[in-house]
């Protein structure tokens, strides 16, 4: 008992000392300044980049915003537009949402809820993690060897010339590229679901699939959504795999509308590819066009991010 009080007093003293001394903690203060500086530096670089791009794009985006979005690729800087690359990037996004999201989330559910912890499942898990780190160019080669050839003749109108270098092949390639990321982020979100929730569901007599659908997935939804939509933005910004799958740079012939499914079997181009191509052309007006195309891609990516945040907030509110 006496020993206990003594111990208590010592702890109290130590806590008091800690509180008193906090003001005179030079290393701590230095650390705080250092991390603040890191944050400011990161912000400054971002702001600098953004204002440079936006200012560079201003002549184009202020003078002919509609025309720039609706015009095809042209060889004259004052006539060119990003309709075709915007369309390509949009459809690549659709492929990622339709293919990578359900397959990835499904695989994650299996890995977390059904797979038993044995050598095989650990091997699969390790491989998925490694796949997430594979350079995107490698996926481009995969896309070329498998999907470009597979897509040959698969869609109406894709038989013959340039057969497999289609929007569909590009979309599937990028869906495969982000698949491991979707699986990993979804797995982590599912793993973070509290054990009590599961036990509660089983306690109520729910079957496994009922527990997954009614409790686990809704609870994990915010985490899953954030991860998957971030992987979507990654896919929208990729250029390297698309070079190998055959994105067109100079002039894209087929003039299908934005939503016509027919174009899935036709040649394509995408915003990152177009940006790189514009940047290589001479003259100040091409610089402006390049900046404008970058702004279009940024807006697209930011929109996807905004959707991710909105959905996450929505599901987080529901969770409570």
């Amino acid at each position: 008992m006496a020993l206990g009080t003594l111990g208590d007093r010592r702890t109290k003293d130590r806590v008091a000392r800690e509180i008193m001394n906090r003001k005179a903690d030079p290393t701590g203060a230095l650390f705080q300044v250092a991390v603040l500086f890191a944050l400011l530096l990161a912000l400054a670089i971002l702001v600098l980049l953004l204002q440079d791009v936006v200012r560079g794009s201003w002549p184009v985006l202020s003078e002919r915003p509609g025309d720039f979005l609706s015009a095809e690729l042209r060889t004259r800087a004052d006539e060119t537009g990003v309709f075709q690359p915007l369309r390509g990037t949009f459809w690549i996004g659709v492929f990622v949402v339709v293919l990578a999201f359900p397959i990835g989330i499904g695989a994650a559910i299996y890995l977390e809820e059904y797979a038993t912890d044995n050598r095989f499942s650990r091997f699969v898990d390790l491989n998925i993690r490694n796949l997430a780190g594979v350079p995107s160019v490698v996926y481009g080669i995969l896309g070329f060897t498998i999907f470009v050839r597979f897509a040959d003749g698969f869609f109406p109108g894709s038989v013959g010339d340039h057969a497999g270098k289609t929007t569909a092949a590009a979309g599937v390639t990028l869906a495969v590229l982000v698949l491991p990321i979707v699986i990993i982020t979804s797995s982590e979100a599912i793993r973070a679901v509290p054990r009590e929730l599961r036990d509660g569901a089983f306690g109520m007599g729910a079957t496994k699939s009922q527990a997954i659908r009614s409790q686990i997935l809704p609870y994990a939804a915010p985490g899953i959504l954030t991860g998957t939509l971030l992987s979507l933005t990654r896919a929208l910004g990729e250029a390297a795999p698309l070079i190998l799958v055959g994105a067109v740079t100079g002039k894209l012939g087929p003039n299908t509308g934005f939503l016509e499914l027919e174009q899935l079997g036709e040649k394509f181009t995408a915003l990152p590819i177009t940006i790189a191509n514009f940047a290589g052309r001479p003259g100040e007006d091409w610089e402006q066009v390049t900046s404008a195309a970058i702004v279009v891609l940024l807006v697209m990516v930011l929109m996807a991010n905004a959707v991710a945040i909105l959905l996450r907030n929505r599901y987080e509110k529901k969770r409570r």
């Binding site: 309709f83 569901a201 659908r213």
Partner: protein, 363 residues
């Protein structure tokens, strides 16, 4: 017993979860549709329902696929644009520029109708085409001349490949003064005495064909002899490349002892600001680049640009024939000399253009 307890509760759960997941799915689909609708408003103004026009068009239609050299890409893309604007919008022309070699690979597989090339077809590539039964006609399009320039104050008027190698080759890494390159130039048999002045180099960016061609034509030969064929680079690595040709002109005119090179069209436009040097390739003496010397091939630092047309395809596809006709007809001057908007390549003199047209007619 447990079962009877479970089923009402369980069903309730299922129903609620179904509603939730449907809502989630609905939201996702809604988003896709909203995004799509946003996009479709863009497309309305753009796509003049080409599919419907196809049926009505009695003229020409179809698709033409072009791939190959990125140097020629803007010329063909411009010609295609003009063709769609002025002749027929129903021919879908796609122009890509992955490179001459990649272009021939596709061409000889029959995947493209026209192959852009910044060099003549190689024997191996021609054999490839023959093996696949692809017959073609080679059409000379233009010349891509490269002008070597210095400041008008510089006394030097003519350089040979050895001089340029001494000043710009990998062995010149770090040279900041013309005189430093004298030793190597002497070794290579120069007749010039370099000034004792700073060596201010302004060169095209590494991404440009002008940069590559200059190395290939001027520096590679001597570099291979002196350093072996496997050398990492045949050009000094401390040159800051300029993507914009006008900046190269500014750089060269901004220093009294400058050195640089640029596409011929730009140098000719700025003949008062820079001095275009004569070049000696060691065979035909000092020759200044002019439209004539580039066109007749006597000026050494230039390369021919070609298109190769699949003749079998041309025999059956009227759209392809009309396009190539137009390429070397009404579109020719605009697309060749103003491929980049303000500037372009050296157009063929009349006799060579006539020869190209004759080659096309006689396919």
């Amino acid at each position: 017993m447990p079962r009877s307890v479970q089923s009402p509760g369980g069903r309730l759960h299922v129903q609620r979860s179904n509603r939730r997941s449907t809502r989630m799915l609905g939201l996702l689909i809604g988003l896709v549709l909203v995004a799509a609708a946003c996009g479709s408003s863009d497309s309305d103004s753009d796509s003049p329902s080409s599919a419907e026009d196809d049926a009505a068009a009695g003229d020409v239609s179809g698709a033409i696929n072009v791939s190959g050299s990125s140097t020629v890409e803007p010329v063909t893309a411009r010609a295609a644009e003009l063709f769609n604007d002025n002749v027929s919008n129903d021919v879908e022309i796609t122009v890509d520029g992955p490179g001459t070699g990649d272009g021939f690979q596709l061409f000889c597989l029959g995947e493209t109708d026209i192959s852009d090339a910044s060099r003549a077809i190689k024997e191996a590539e021609a054999a490839d085409c023959e093996a696949n039964g692809i017959s073609y006609v080679e059409l000379l399009v233009a010349f891509d001349g490269i002008a070597v320039m210095t400041h008008p104050d510089n006394a030097i008027t003519c350089v040979n490949y050895g001089d340029l190698y001494a000043l710009l080759g990998p062995e010149a890494d770090g040279f900041g003064n013309w005189a430093e390159a004298q030793a190597i130039a002497d070794e290579l048999g120069t007749t010039n005495t370099f000034p004792d002045a700073s060596l201010d180099i302004t060169a095209p960016g590494t991404e440009s064909g002008t940069y590559d061609s200059f190395i290939e034509i001027v520096l590679e030969g001597i570099g291979e002899q002196r350093l072996g064929e496997d050398a990492d680079t045949f050009i000094r690595t401390d040159i800051a490349g300029q993507a914009e040709d006008n900046v190269i002109i500014q750089g060269v005119s901004g220093s009294g002892s400058s050195l640089g090179w640029v596409g011929f069209a730009f140098a000719a436009e700025n003949a008062d600001a820079v001095k275009v040097l004569e070049v000696d390739d060691g065979q035909s003496g000092c020759i200044a680049p002019t439209i004539d010397t580039i066109a007749d091939g006597s000026y050494p630092v230039s390369r021919p640009l070609y298109i190769y047309v699949n003749t079998e395809r041309a025999a059956t596809d009227d759209g392809l024939v009309q396009f190539v006709d137009y390429y070397f007809g009404d579109a020719y001057i605009d697309s060749v000399t103003r491929a980049f908007g303000d500037t372009g390549y050296v157009a063929l003199p009349d006799d060579l253009l006539a020869a190209t047209q004759a080659a096309w007619e006689g396919r």
